[in-house]
Amino acid sequence: MVWLWILIAGIVTFLTRFSMIALINPKKLNNNTKKVLTYVPSAVFPAIIFPAVFLDKQGLFLSSINHPQILAFFIAIIVGYFLKNIILTILSGLISYWMFIFWLS
């Protein structure tokens, strides 16, 4: 039975990926829809980012703003904002996260 549910979960996942690519005729998209779609990364990614930074594993707000991951998150924002470089944004966040854990513990 588990195999069956794994297969169904796989089909459902594939359909979320495939359905829009298969069904949408780009010629029929109006300009407003196309413009809204340019906001997709800005609309989807924060919903993944914010809970991972500001909430703990139980889904509760972290008790202090001085938490290493919140501080490191803001450092990564500053670095990314000025240097506009993907790898430096990630590394600055990770390295400062390690430093804050070291200092604050």
Binding site: S19, N32, P41, F50, L94
Partner: protein, 230 residues
């Protein structure tokens, strides 16, 4: 440009974003086997579902004895963001035949979508621009399968103290950080993020797709009220 050159470009563009993929895949491999799935099942799930957070949700919910329909609904809700990615990519992939569209859909992930949608938009006149998505998608796919196997057979070889799961939000941040310069995008970002924090505990993990739609509604408002003259 040759197909292979564009494929390589996709590979190189997505490479920095794969930093969390390997530790996350290892964590999944460990969780899968700890939750009572056989090594084969854990691996095949990475192959059939190929979506990290859905696989972990599947394994955890299954372990707690949740009903299969609840598990499938959660998987659907977590993956519903792909609908939006598909809508964006459809503008560039409509000329391809069915086999290509099936293959590229299967390989579509957050990271591959993010780097390849930028490339496809800039190079929409190239007949073989979809090789970029093939390159980015395949790179992620390969690393995901490999790291699942590492997790299954070697256990958690990445020390938890390294906090590598924190690279997940950092990667997504890196993808939108340049948008913070634009006031409309900044507001959309803050609305989506704030909304996700408020409704995080809603059932079925619907916070991602609901927050996305709330934020897209705001963007629709911007387009209609502020950008008419631009």
């Amino acid at each position: 440009m040759k197909n292979l050159t564009i494929f390589q470009k996709g590979f190189l563009d997505v490479l920095p974003l794969t930093i969390p993929v390997v530790p996350f895949g290892i964590i999944y491999g460990v969780i899968g086997t700890e939750m009572g799935f056989t090594p084969l099942m854990t691996f095949v799930m990475s192959f059939i579902i190929f979506a990290g957070s859905s696989q972990i949700a599947f394994a955890q919910l299954f372990f707690t004895g949740a009903s299969p329909w609840l598990i499938i609904s959660s998987v659907a809700a977590i993956n519903s963001r792909h609908l939006l990615y598909g809508a964006v990519l459809s503008q560039h992939l409509s000329k391809l035949n069915l086999q290509w569209r099936i293959l590229l859909s299967y390989l579509m992930t957050d990271q591959a979508f993010s780097v390849s949608s930028i490339y496809l938009k800039k190079n929409k006149n190239k007949f073989n621009c979809h090789f970029h998505l093939l390159g980015s998608g395949f790179t992620l796919w390969f690393l995901w399968q490999l790291s699942t196997l590492i997790g299954i057979f070697l256990g958690n070889i990445v020390p938890e103290q390294l906090g590598l799961t924190f690279t997940i939000p950092l990667t997504f941040l890196a993808l939108i950080v340049s948008e913070l310069r634009k006031i409309d995008h900044l507001i959309v970002i803050l609305v989506s993020g704030t909304c996700s924090l408020i409704i995080y505990n809603f059932p079925y993990k619907i916070y991602i797709i609901v927050s996305s739609f709330v934020a897209l509604t705001i963007s629709y408002f911007f387009i209609n009220h502020f950008k008419k003259n631009i």
